[in-house]
Structure formats: C-alpha cells, structure tokens
Symmetry: C2
Amino acid sequence: MKLVDNIQRMSMLSKILKKEGKSIGFVPTMGYLHDGHMSLARAARQHTDVVVISIFVNPAQFGPGEDLTKYPKDLKRDEEMAGLAGADVLFCPSVSEMYPEGYATYVNVERLTETLCGRSRPAHFRGVATVVAKLFGIVRPDIAYFGQKDAQQAAVIKKMAEDLNMDVEIKVLPITREKDGLAMSSRNVYLSSEERKDAVCLKEALDKAERAIRSGERDPGMIINVMKELVTSKPSARIDYIEIVDSKNLRPIAPLSGDVLIAMAVFIGNTRLIDNVIVKI
Amino acid sequence: MKLVDNIQRMSMLSKILKKEGKSIGFVPTMGYLHDGHMSLARAARQHTDVVVISIFVNPAQFGPGEDLTKYPKDLKRDEEMAGLAGADVLFCPSVSEMYPEGYATYVNVERLTETLCGRSRPAHFRGVATVVAKLFGIVRPDIAYFGQKDAQQAAVIKKMAEDLNMDVEIKVLPITREKDGLAMSSRNVYLSSEERKDAVCLKEALDKAERAIRSGERDPGMIINVMKELVTSKPSARIDYIEIVDSKNLRPIAPLSGDVLIAMAVFIGNTRLIDNVIVKI
C-alpha cells in the first residue's frame, strides 16, 4: 500500500490510473479507522480496480467548541487496517495544503442541510460538501463509499454529486455495529465505561421505534416520545434531537408512510453520538 | 460540428474522448456569439484536440429585474459562427435539465465576489461559479477559456478551480473590441444608435486612466474622478461603479502599485456595460 501525503502526487496518480483505464474506489474518512470504514473499503475492493482511502480531519466541518483538536488519531494503526482491508493508496493531505491561506470556495447544499444535524451544527455540512468536492477533484473516483450511520451526510453528498454533475457513483453501505448494537464510530473511544453502557440506548430506542411502526403506529410524535423516555432514563444521556423524516428529502412526515428515516443525536457525557434506521412502511 | 442538447450525451461524449486520450478545450458562453467568443474558440482550436462551446443562458446568475428573459438569442447564427471558429461540439442544455425541480447545490467563492459587480449583483457570481462547476463536471475540459472583459468572473473561476482542486487550466484572453474601442458584448445589441455612440465612453475613460497612471498619477481617487467626469458628460450614461483594485485579490489599493485592475460598470440607457484594463505599474 502506498502512502501519499501530497495533493499533486495523488492527483497525478489518479490521472495515470484513469489513463490506464483503471476504475477507482474511494473511501473518504477522518481516520481512526474502525470496522465500519473497513466494510466500505472491502466493498470498494470488490467493485473497483484501485482502492483509495483518505484520512483528513477536516477543520471546515467542525464548529467552535467541537472536538476538532482532540479528534482521535493513530496513523500507524490506520495504515495497518487499511492494508488489511486491501486498500492500494492511503491519501493523507495536510490541512495547510487543503486550505491554504486565502482559501475561499465553499459548496452549499441547501434545504437538506437545514434539518437534523444541520440544525445543531450550522456550518457542518458546508464543510463536508466542500471537502468531499475537493477530494473528488483530487482522487477522481468512479465510486465513492459512505456509511449509512451519517445518513444526512450521505444524502447531502448524493445531492451534491447529482446537482454538480460530478461523474461519480455514491454508494451508501449499512451501519456496522458493536455486539451490543452501538454503531461503530471513531468517537466511541471518548466514552468512559459507564457511558459506554448507556450508549447502547440509541440503538435500543431505534429498535423500539421500529417495532412500534411494525405494529401499526403511524404518529411520529408518539414514537419520538417513547424514544425520548428510553434515552432520558440513562444518567449520562442528553438528547440533541430525535426526528422522523422522509429518507430522501429529510422533511418531517406525519402520518408516517413510505421510507422513513428515524434519526437521532444524543450526547453521552460530552460525546455526541448519532444513529439511525430506515424503515420501509 | 455536432449539436448536443442533452447532459448525459455530452457527458458520455467527453468520457469517450478522454478514454481516447483527446484533450478538450471548452468555451462556456450564454450564446449570441460575437468576435470575443470566437477568439476564445480559435485559441481552443489551437491548443486542444476537441473544441466544445456551450450555450446556456444561466438563470442562476441573473438577479430580479435583470435581462434574463430578454437576453438575445440566435441559435442558427451561433451554430454558423461556432462552425466557422472550428468548434467540434455545440452543447446547449435546457434550463430544466440543468436545474431540475429540487435543485439545491451552490458554489460560493467568498471575498472576491463581494466587490465590483458582486456588490451591484449580489447572487451573480454564486450563479456563475455554480453553472461553471456543473459545466466542468459535464464537459470535463483540459483547458477552459474566458474573456478578460468579465475580469471578476475570470478571477472567481480561477479561484474556484484552484480551491476545489478541479483538474482544469483556466485561460483568460484579452478583450475583443469594436473599431471605436467598445468592448464586444452580446448586450451591445440592446443599444440605440445614440446610446451606441455614448457607449464608447467606457473605453475612453479607461484610456484616460491608463494615461494618467503612465504619467505618474498614483492616487486612485484622482483617477476615478477624471473617469467619472468623462462618463457623466454622456447624456445616456449612469455609473454603476468605477474602481481601481489589485488585479488578483480585487481589493482597493492606494497608492497604486503592482498590477492594478481598473474596472467599471456603466448603464447606457437601460443596458449595463462593463469594461476594464489591467495596468502594470
């Protein structure tokens, strides 16, 4: 596996691969890789000739007071894991090269970014869309892989790629979970052992919501109340949001019908976790 | 010359050309072609294997009350001219395909867009950057050609391409002028014969400013006053702005030094004309 830490070299490499007729599968990450990332890389390995994983903790998607500076890092371990998943290239650009002095261009996906996480993290998706547009420009992937855990991010990236006529297929793969149901996240490392136990409440609440819908409940307010009750019973949990929306346009629906996305963000202690499920009605 | 009116067909065509190792030169226009556009197309003809001209009157770059609906059109004539200039493809997508219902993604280049035309046309450059990003995604040019007449547009596109790591070279070619000095523009067709005479005042004012700098004047305020005096002496002229800025960052400079851009927008009757000159000090 090749480690590339320079934009121009990555760009040249992609150009050469394209000229050779090779397809590129791309997994953009912020590093501290876990099995969720690995499942994306393995899918890329199956579908495309060359697998590129990027590691870039993107300042533009963190708000003031968020965990940018303490975001977990372990490049050695990331290299090993990327190698095991069959990646060919690990692309790790620097912040100063990605956002040089005088940087001024931002991509904004309207509407989709105004709900859910976009409400509590105002400039977050502008940062996400911008960095992904940049990475697509550099890596020029045929297929890019994202996890369903960041459901809104996946919807935003899909919309951006479609709207800006980017020639890339966006694949969204299922959430990878720990044995007890907690969605894998690099941020899980922040949790104390007590918090780690409480953290399972997100998945428990989603399961409960899904069961309610399966047994005929169509009132989103009722379902959200049951979820809130479950979550707030955990001492370390504080709800950021729980919403039930249309899985495509992310707008609230009542009564529930079609493909609904039940999405939630909960602070467990100081750690903000997200999780979701799509239920087809 | 091939006429392509469909995004997917253009995108496929570009993909095939790339696979064949052909370089693509691209001239994005709003149609009603004139010798300015033709000089861009001829340059593309010299530098690249395949020349694509697009014609798209982009609603996203017109403000309320601007001339979107009456913007001049003559596709027959445009086809002939594009053919004469050696274009291989004339790409004319429809508004409904470029901005389908639910369209939501916009590219914003900050700072550079806040001065000059950006001040009088608030969402203009957001529309320009967005449509050019889209066209670059579809056409995938190696080199794209823009005219120096739209100096701020050229600066914005260059900045966007650099910031978003778009793999395209931006070439900016000199202003093409009528015999009496008026910068070529599709909008010149709006001018009455009286207005047409007055319209030469933009170039006259720029010449006067350039002469003042050459003879040692370094106070932008003094130069702008002289220009204003000349322009306002024409009965049909009303100044939108006259500014002298750094040619790269478009910020005002005083005293004048380096490469300065003298840029102006003047309403001649109801027609808003722009012109500029770069003077190296």
